[in-house]
């Protein structure tokens, strides 16, 4: 796999506060990554460091296997950090042309990218007349001007109304479908779950996990079961070695698996025992549940 970004033992201190603590991870081409973590966990600081706007205290990072300087590498990156920053007195088109000059790419794609984010009809309006949602979409257009190898988005839906959030997500999905590597920092778990294949989880500047979303917990998932005779069902499940913890909530049994077991097999087993199910679902933990589990384990 081609490496796009490698971060090694990165540390950033603001006075006494350690915002990022000995962080290492790798971003590979073609995946969609999420950086997860509560507010103040060091997500933006980490991105700031690799994007050349925050100075690191210790550690290393390298873009594209370290073959180019950071600022040259950034020309092949599209990034949006927190709020969209443009010259308020310039129009959308003028702002994008300026970005083209900085990135040393031709200005041909300005209209194409404005079209993609649905701002083409407002291209000659000054940036200061834009709504927050439009500003954020312009920022995405700007980040895409160079057809980047990787798109970095830091809280792209922050402060937007539901419609704006939906628009931004649609755009992100469209871009991900084109095979662009994406790094998405967010504290909104469902947002990350919807688009990301890999996650890096941070808390207080420390990495808790990095890897595939579904490999986050060594878990085989769980069954949600319901029967007329829940007592018999629960009694049986307790005798079955495949199951660990069993919970009864609102007449619904949740049985966590200790090993792989497919629903058909379970159904047949229970039927043989004369237990008839009215509800059978096999599920994996949602990202939110996994995240809470992981952060809980670490705090103990």
């Amino acid at each position: 796999m081609e490496k796009i970004l490698t971060v090694q033992n990165l540390t950033k201190k603001f006075g006494h506060l350690t915002a990022v603590n000995d962080l290492s991870f790798t971003i590979e081409k073609g995946n969609v990554y999420g950086i997860l973590g509560p507010n103040g966990s060091g997500k933006s600081t980490t991105l700031g460091i690799v994007l050349n706007v925050v100075n690191r205290t210790k550690g290393e990072f390298s873009w594209f296997n370290g073959n180019t300087s950071t600022h040259e590498a950034l020309k092949k990156v599209g990034a949006i950090i927190e709020r969209p920053n443009f010259y308020p007195y310039m129009t959308a088109a003028q702002n994008l042309k300026l970005v083209c000059k900085i990135k040393e790419v031709s200005t041909d794609k300005v209209d194409e990218k404005l079209e993609l984010v649905g701002l083409l009809d407002r291209k000659n309006s000054k940036f200061k007349t834009y709504s927050l949602g439009m500003k954020q979409r312009l920022a995405i257009a700007s980040a895409l001007l160079n057809d980047p190898e990787i798109l970095i988005l830091d809280e792209p839906t922050n402060g937007l109304d539901p419609q704006g959030i939906h628009q931004i997500r649609e755009i992100i999905k469209k871009i991900a479908a084109q095979g662009t590597t994406i790094l998405l920092a967010s504290h909104l778990l469902d947002e990350v779950e919807k688009v990301c294949s890999h996650v890096v989880i941070l808390r207080k500047g420390v990495k808790l996990y990095s890897g595939r979303v579904d490999g986050m917990l060594a878990s085989h998932g769980f069954f949600e079961l319901k029967s007329k005779d829940n007592g018999a069902l629960e009694a049986y499940l307790k005798t079955n070695a495949s199951f660990g913890e069993i919970k009864l909530e609102n007449g619904l049994l949740t049985a966590f698996l200790k090993e792989e077991l497919d629903p058909g097999t379970l159904n047949k087993l229970l039927l043989d025992k004369g237990i008839i199910l009215s509800h059978l679902v096999k599920r994996k933990e949602s990202l939110e549940e996994q995240f809470l589990e992981l952060t809980k384990n670490q705090s103990n």
Binding site: V53, V54, L74, Y87, L98, K101, K103
Partner: protein, 278 residues
Amino acid sequence: MIRLLQIEFIKLWNNRASKILVFSYFILLTSIALVAAIKFDIGPINFHLAEQGIFNFPYIWHFNTFITAFFKLFLAIVIVSMMANEYSNKTIKQNLIDGLSKKEFILSKFLTVVTFALISTVFVFVVSLILGIVYSDFNELSIIFSDLEFLLAFFVKLMGFFAFCMFAGILVKRSAFALGFLILWQIFEGFVRAILRWKIFEGHTETDAVMGLFPLNAMWNLIDEPFSRLSAVQSLGDQIGEDFRFDYAVHWYEILIVLGWTAIFVYLSYALLKRRDL
């Protein structure tokens, strides 16, 4: 290099306030020609300023560079705001993320500053040349093109001052406060002069020598006041027995000091930007 200038040009040219200030600056530079029109015809008094010799070559180089240097304050506002606005709009952050290095950022600003100084110098040269050809009593080429070091001094003075403005803008990050900082610095230099004069040194010479090392004072020293050099003033001096024949020349060490400050300001701007987290 052209790319860096283009980047800065896009930023400045699309800003209406900057555009107006730059235009007024160059109109003011041209307006020095209007001095030629000052004419009194009140009974027996027949006064035409242009005929007092201020437009004579090579004196005109001295006079015009001295006067027009005051207009640099207009560009100072443009330069301070072009630095400070990058901070208040946070566009400096976006510029760096988009792939401009910190070095390139400072370089693009400094190149703009040098361009401003260069265009101003060419402008003053052309306006003075035309005025001189129209009004000067001497028209030999050797006289016309003597004393051109005043133009060099003018260029260095502007470049140094603008580099100072650039540094102030980056240091303070707010246009209004950065301009305030420049004024404060001027007062500070005056204060140091007063202390030196009354507490440390006996005479003017040492005070002037030390003060010549301070940035604003060094820039001021580059082009001495030209008025006492006018023949009318000189003859007045002769009558009252005072010798007004000072040393008006542009000295190499004065140029060197200002060039040194320019380098320091550019370096400090870079060092400051490099150290800061944005």
